[in-house]
Amino acid sequence: MKLRQLGSGNLVKQAASKEGVCLDIGAFCVRVKSNEIVFLETLAFLYQDFPILPSDTFADFHIVIKRPKGVRRYLKPQVIFVTDGQQPFEPFPLSHAFPLFEWGLNWCIARRSHQYLMLHAAVVEKNGKALILPALPGSGKSTLSAALAMNGWRFLSDEFTMIRPQDGKILPIPRPTPLKNASIQVIKDTFLNAEMGPLFPKTRKGTVAHLRPPKQSVEQLKEAVLPELLIFPKFQANTEIQLNLLNKPYVVFKLASNAFNYELMGRTGFELVKNMTSSCRCYNLTYSRFDQVLPLLDDLLMQNV
């Protein structure tokens, strides 16, 4: 069953129950518990195409979104993120429950999922070939992956590229993309069918709005895919588009420092990075306009090596 089919009344009831709601996000199953109606509404909208699993499914993460105790809740209500009885972050204002949930879920994934090599990279796919976009925050990887997702590519993730050591394939986690500040309007203006959740002003990263992932991408959330292109993107306003082929030893170092858990994975991490680098075509990309970058990436994928 999809989250959409559950209906808001049932969602509220189930999220408040002892078992919570088991949400299948692709590589993981997340158990969510909350009494916060506004948060659940946003969740229901942005995750509407994601499958709900029976409550006796094995869940990888347990997340509770609730109000902290104390008198403050009557004056300026806040919200906290609790996982397995732990509260890793300071409270957020109540209205920011959804960004807190997303941020906390990222934290859980990054800290615990060492069964996979985790790159700090967006990833999309077309024709069974994945394009990995590793980059630091602020370089525009979320925006670019959102644009690709709105332009016929399958969206796998805007933040985590999870690589399975057994076969080197990438597992999708096609969660909503948090767009920041100017990117929000850019995506809205360029893609009229883009659907976004509420605006969250004054977060740590400025104003944030989440882009709902395309339905088709969510439907394929169990389909792992092999990487084909490794592109390090950089958004730079008012520049001509530039694509530079990278030499592979350099890419190995770049990927090693980009991954969340390269060192921790030890030899397995090295083997994965090495194999991926040698089998992929690797480039640096500087861009400023979608109408240039989107056709270029389409062409690049089509080219045979």
Partner: protein, 366 residues
């Protein structure tokens, strides 16, 4: 319906002590087990236990991924630790100091089987008190930095602690605790570090020494029952102790007699009593009764009753979704106890007052 806390206790203890019971776990119970085992740093240990009992095939696929991830963290920490020991040795090259590795690092050096699944937090080393200044200076000269502490904490460490403030190399992530004895100088128990060093043994193919097997067990007991706060995170220490005892016992005749004698010599009968008692009663692992009952460190009837009530409550991890008030109370009482054992009243009261003041100000404390 089972009470959540009893449910946790049952599945966690059963799986650790009677691994075959994992065959009967439901999916929800697996989930609860994984959450609790992670909380008390026993996730990789649980995997190792099941693996060594040939039970890995009974583990559901999704659970295995958590085991794999946990084992990778353990391997990584162990790698960091061994490298740190390598670097420390290099920093002290050609210096005439004897360095003992304690706890996790020692289990790792000795390649005790369970150590490959034990999550190691930091490196603990011990040197003679007369060498500590030299060693600290050498390390500082070669890139290790002392944790930034305020005047009070610095003073406190130097005057009363059994170690110098923690060191960390500027390029690495693992903390090095440099000790000259195993309990704070203000503590009620004062085992002689000279005796411990005298009996220490050299580890083959390394430049390090470790405590003798019985001393290793006594040290871990002291740490758990005289220095730790005894909460769910310390449960792991009891499991360590069980593993150590049953690893070393078959290697030495009259093992328990030697252990008790040594405890007497070092005045550590009381912590040893608790260790044997709780391994026997809490981990359901039989220890011959005479070694528990004949120990002259056996506490008075009242203390025994209190500890037998409080320790299991505090030590066994809570159900993550249903924390209990009485557990919080038990942990608080044992926390106060641990401080009371660590220092006399005239030090304790100002110290605790300062700690609570700092906590209210939201500052980190040791």
């Amino acid at each position: 319906m089972t009470i959540p806390a009893d449910h946790v206790k049952k599945i966690l203890i059963n799986c650790l002590c009677f691994p075959e019971t994992v065959k009967e776990l439901t999916v929800s119970e697996w989930e609860l087990l994984i959450r609790c085992a992670r909380h008390c740093k026993l996730l990789a240990y649980l995997r190792w236990k099941l693996d060594s009992c040939g039970l890995i095939a009974s583990v559901p696929a999704q659970v295995l991924t958590h085991f794999t991830a946990a084992q990778r963290i353990v391997d990584y920490r162990n790698r960091l630790a061994m490298w740190e020991l390598n670097r420390i040795r290099r920093a002290l090259y050609a210096k005439d100091v004897e360095v003992l590795v304690l706890k996790g690092g020692a289990y790792q050096l000795l390649q005790i089987p369970f150590a490959q699944s034990r999550l190691l937090a930091d490196i603990d080393i011990l040197v003679k008190k007369s060498d500590i200044h030299t060693v600290e200076t050498y390390l500082q000269q070669q890139g290790w930095q002392t944790a930034k502490l305020d005047e009070y904490d610095q003073q406190y460490y130097r005057t009363w602690m059994h170690e110098v403030p923690p060191l960390r190399h500027q390029e690495r992530f693992i903390e090095v605790d440099l000790h000259h004895t195993i309990l704070p100088l203000s503590s009620r128990l004062q085992p002689s570090p000279e005796l411990l060093i005298e009996d220490s043994i050299a580890v083959e193919n390394t430049a390090y020494k470790v405590f003798s097997p019985v001393d290793m067990i006594l040290h871990s007991s002291v740490h758990l029952f005289y220095d730790a706060e005894l909460n769910g995170a310390d449960f792991r220490d009891l499991v360590d102790l069980k593993e150590l005892i049953f690893y070393f016992q078959p290697q030495q005749e009259f093992f328990f007699e030697i252990l008790l004698d040594r405890a007497k010599q070092l005045t550590l009968q009381r912590p040893l009593y608790y260790t044997l008692y709780f391994i026997h009663n809490l981990l359901d692992t039989p220890i011959p009764e005479e070694y528990i009952e004949k120990n002259i460190g056996k506490p008075s009837w009242l203390t025994r009753k209190l500890m037998c009530y409080l320790v299991p409550l505090a030590l066994i991890p809570e159900h993550p979704d249903f924390p209990r008030k009485k557990v919080a109370l038990a942990r608080w009482l044992l926390y106060v106890r641990s401080h009371f054992l660590r220092m006399p009243f005239y030090l304790l009261i100002p110290h605790l007052l300062r700690k609570s003041r700092m906590r209210m100000a939201g500052k980190e404390m040791h």
